[in-house]
C-alpha cells in the first residue's frame, strides 16, 4: 500500500513540476501570430503548389494578412471568388484576374514531326535539353518525356502515347504555372479561359524560318502572316517568323484558323468556320463572354 502511494505521489509531483516548467517555457518562447493567418490559410485551397509565387499556402496567407496592398497577390487555384471573400474578410481590395488555363504551344505529333533518332538516356525533358535538340529535329518542340506531367499537382496533364505530346485537361487545370517552370522548352502559356474550354491558339513556338520548320515538322508555324492579315482585332502578331495570338484580344472569331496553311492554329471545342467565312465576329461568342464575367 505504501509503495503504491509513494509511486502515485512521485509521479503526481513530477507531473506538477514539469507542468509548471512547461508553462514558463511556453510563455518565454511564445511567438505572437495574427490569428487571421490561420483563418485565411483555411480559406486557401491548401494545395501548396507555389502557383502564387510563395513557398506554400501558409506563406501566402501571411502575405495576405500582413501586406496592406494585396492587389498583386493572387491564388490561381482558388480563383477570383475565393480571393474576393478573403479580401472582404481582411477588409482589403481584392485582386482581379480572369480565369486562365495552361496551354501547350506545340502541335508536333509523332505523325507530323517524325522522330529522326532514338533517345536512350534518362526519361526527363530537362536531361534531353542538357545536350541536344531532341528526337525530332525541332529545337523548340515538345520533348515528350513529361517533366510537366510530374510537376502538375492536380493531375491536369497527361502524356498521349500516340501523339507523343502532353495534353491539358482544362477542367482540372488551376493555372498554377508549375508546368511553365517545369518545361525546359517553355512551351506552356497561361491563356484566357473561355466558357466550355473553347480556345484558339498557335500551337508552335519555333522561331526558325519557314523552310527550316517544314523540314522537321509539318504542323509548325512558318510565319507566313496570313492569319495576322485576316484578324480584325489585332490579336495576332508575327515575330521571328512565328505567329502569336494574344488571348486577351482574341474574340474566337475563327477566321484565322482556315487561313493557316500548316494547321498550326488549333481550334478547341469549336467547329471551324465553313469555307466562306462570315465577316463579323459572332455575337453569340461575345455575349457568352459577358455571361462568363457576370458569373
Amino acid at each position: 500500500m505504501n509503495e503504491l502511494l509513494l509511486t502515485v505521489l512521485t509521479l503526481s509531483l513530477l507531473g506538477a513540476v514539469l507542468a509548471v516548467v512547461l508553462y514558463f517555457v511556453a510563455q518565454k518562447f511564445k511567438v505572437y501570430e495574427d490569428p487571421r493567418i490561420d483563418d485565411v490559410e483555411k480559406m486557401l485551397p491548401g494545395a501548396n503548389c507555389g502557383g502564387c509565387g510563395f513557398a506554400g499556402c501558409r506563406a501566402m496567407a501571411e502575405a495576405l494578412v500582413t501586406r496592406d496592398n494585396i492587389a498583386s497577390l493572387y491564388c490561381p487555384v482558388a480563383g477570383g471568388e475565393v480571393m474576393t471573400s478573403i479580401a472582404n474578410f481582411l477588409g482589403k481590395t481584392a485582386p482581379e484576374k480572369a480565369p486562365q488555363v495552361a496551354t501547350l504551344l506545340c502541335g508536333g505529333t509523332c505523325q507530323k514531326r517524325p522522330k529522326v533518332n532514338h533517345y536512350d538516356g534518362a526519361r526527363s525533358c530537362a536531361v534531353v535539353n542538357t545536350f541536344y535538340v531532341g528526337e525530332s529535329g525541332c529545337a523548340f518542340g515538345c520533348i515528350g518525356y513529361g517533366d510537366c506531367v510530374a510537376a502538375c499537382k492536380f493531375g491536369a496533364l497527361s502524356l498521349n502515347e500516340e501523339t507523343g505530346l502532353v495534353e491539358v485537361d482544362a477542367d482540372k487545370c488551376t493555372a498554377c504555372g508549375a508546368c511553365i517552370k517545369a518545361c525546359p522548352k517553355s512551351l506552356f502559356e497561361l491563356r484566357k479561359k473561355w466558357p466550355k474550354n473553347r480556345a484558339i491558339y498557335v500551337a508552335c513556338r519555333s522561331k526558325n524560318k519557314g523552310a527550316v520548320v517544314t523540314k522537321v515538322c509539318k504542323a509548325g508555324c512558318i510565319g507566313c502572316g496570313k492569319c495576322a492579315k485576316v484578324c480584325a482585332f489585332e490579336a495576332i502578331t508575327v515575330d521571328n517568323s512565328l505567329a502569336y495570338i494574344d488571348s486577351e484580344k482574341c474574340k474566337l472569331c475563327r477566321k484565322c484558323v482556315n487561313e493557316c496553311p500548316t494547321g498550326a492554329i488549333h481550334i478547341i471545342n469549336m467547329e471551324p468556320l465553313k469555307k466562306e467565312p462570315k465577316p463579323a465576329p459572332s455575337a453569340a461568342a461575345e455575349s457568352k463572354v459577358e455571361t462568363a464575367k457576370n458569373e
Binding site: H118, D120, V127
Partner: protein, 318 residues
C-alpha cells in the same frame, strides 16, 4: 536492317556489373554454408530454406503486384537472398508456418513498407528473425531436434553463458567444420569464410565491415580474458568468433548494402559498433547471442554515420 541512330548523354558504355549478378554472387557464396548445414542437420535444412525463399519471393510479388500495383522486381533476386538469410537465422526444427510468418514480416514490414529494395533502413532478414525471436521464443530456441548424436541440445553460447560448459571443454577444430548446435546457417565457420572470401574476390563486399566487426570482437574478448589470463586469453576471443552468428552476421548480414554506411570510414565505425554491441549483449545481456540485435541497432545508426562520414573531397585536407 536499317541504321537506327541512338542519342544519350555520356557515358555511353557501362562496366557490365548488374544488380542480379551481385545478388547471384551472394547466393552462390551462401551455398557452401547451406551444404555444411544440410550435411550436419539433415534434409530439413533444405526444406526450410526452400520454404523461406519461396515465401519471400511470393510475398514480394504479391505485394508489388496487388498492393502497390506496380512493376514487380522479383527478378533482381534480392528476395531470394533475404529468404536464404532468414532461413540461415532459424533453427532447423522450426515449424514451416513460422518460417512463412517470418518471411511475411521480413518482406512486408522489413522491406516493402519502406519502398522496396535499397530503401529499407533495417536488414529485412534480421527484421524477420527478431520478430520471430520475440513472438515465438520457444520454437526459435528449440535446438533439440535435427542434430547428430554427440552435440549438446542447446547452443554453445547458451551453454557457456549458463555455466554448463567451460571454454576449455570446447573442441575448436570441430567448430570450424560445423560440429556444433545453432541456427541453420551459422554453424559452418569454414564454409562461411569461404563464402566471404568469394564475395571479397568478386568485389561484392569490401573488407572493412567484416574485419571491423570480427576484429573488435577479438580485441574485446582478449581484453575481457586479460584478468583471468592463461589459456582463456586465446580461448575467449576465438570462441566468440566461431560460436553463434558472428561470422554469418559479419560477412553476410552486416554488409547488406542498403543498411550499411557508404564510405569506408563509416563502414569501420559501423563494424566496430556491431562488434562492441554483440560482445556486450553476449557477456552481460539477457540473450546468449547478440549479433542480430547489434546489427539491427547499428542499422539504425547508419544514416547518422553517413551524415558525418562523407567521402574525402578532392583537393581538401581532411
Amino acid at each position: 536492317m536499317q541504321t537506327r541512330l541512338f542519342a544519350a548523354p555520356s557515358p555511353h558504355i557501362h562496366g557490365g556489373e548488374r544488380t542480379q549478378q551481385i545478388m547471384g554472387d551472394v547466393i552462390l557464396a551462401l551455398v557452401p554454408a547451406l551444404l555444411v548445414s544440410t550435411y550436419v542437420m539433415g534434409w530439413r535444412v533444405l526444406l526450410i530454406s526452400g520454404v523461406a525463399v519461396a515465401s519471400c519471393v511470393l510475398f514480394e510479388y504479391l505485394i508489388q503486384r496487388f498492393m502497390l500495383k506496380g512493376r514487380t522486381t522479383i527478378g533482381d533476386l534480392s528476395a531470394v537472398v533475404t529468404g536464404l538469410l532468414l532461413a540461415f537465422n532459424l533453427p532447423a526444427g522450426i515449424p514451416w508456418w513460422i518460417v512463412v510468418i517470418g518471411a511475411l514480416v521480413a518482406i512486408g514490414i522489413g522491406k516493402m513498407t519502406f519502398g522496396g529494395l535499397g530503401c529499407n533502413p533495417f536488414n529485412p532478414a534480421l527484421t524477420g528473425r527478431i520478430f520471430l525471436l520475440i513472438a515465438y521464443p520457444v520454437q526459435m530456441t528449440d535446438w533439440t531436434t535435427h542434430i547428430p548424436d554427440g552435440i549438446s541440445g542447446s547452443t554453445l553460447l547458451a551453454n557457456v553463458k549458463a555455466g554448463a560448459m567451460q571454454l576449455s571443454q570446447i573442441d575448436y577444430v570441430s567448430m570450424l567444420g560445423g560440429h556444433m548446435n545453432g541456427s541453420m546457417g551459422e554453424i559452418g565457420a569454414l564454409a562461411l569464410m569461404l563464402g566471404g572470401g568469394y564475395l571479397l574476390w568478386r568485389r561484392v563486399i569490401t573488407w572493412h565491415i567484416p574485419v571491423a566487426v570480427l576484429g573488435t570482437m577479438l580485441l574485446f574478448g582478449f581484453c575481457v580474458a586479460l584478468p583471468e589470463g592463461g589459456a582463456t586469453l586465446w580461448q575467449t576471443p576465438l570462441f566468440h568468433l566461431l560460436a553463434g552468428g558472428a561470422l554469418l552476421g559479419a560477412i553476410f548480414m552486416a554488409t547488406d548494402y542498403s543498411t550499411s554506411p557508404m564510405t569506408h570510414k563509416g563502414m569501420i565505425i559501423y563494424g566496430v559498433g556491431i562488434g562492441l554491441l554483440t560482445m556486450i549483449i553476449r557477456l552481460w545481456g539477457a540473450y546468449p547471442e547478440g549479433m542480430s540485435f547489434a546489427i539491427f541497432i547499428m542499422n539504425a545508426a547508419t544514416p547518422l554515420i553517413n551524415k558525418y562520414c562523407r567521402p574525402k573531397r578532392f583537393g581538401t585536407k581532411k
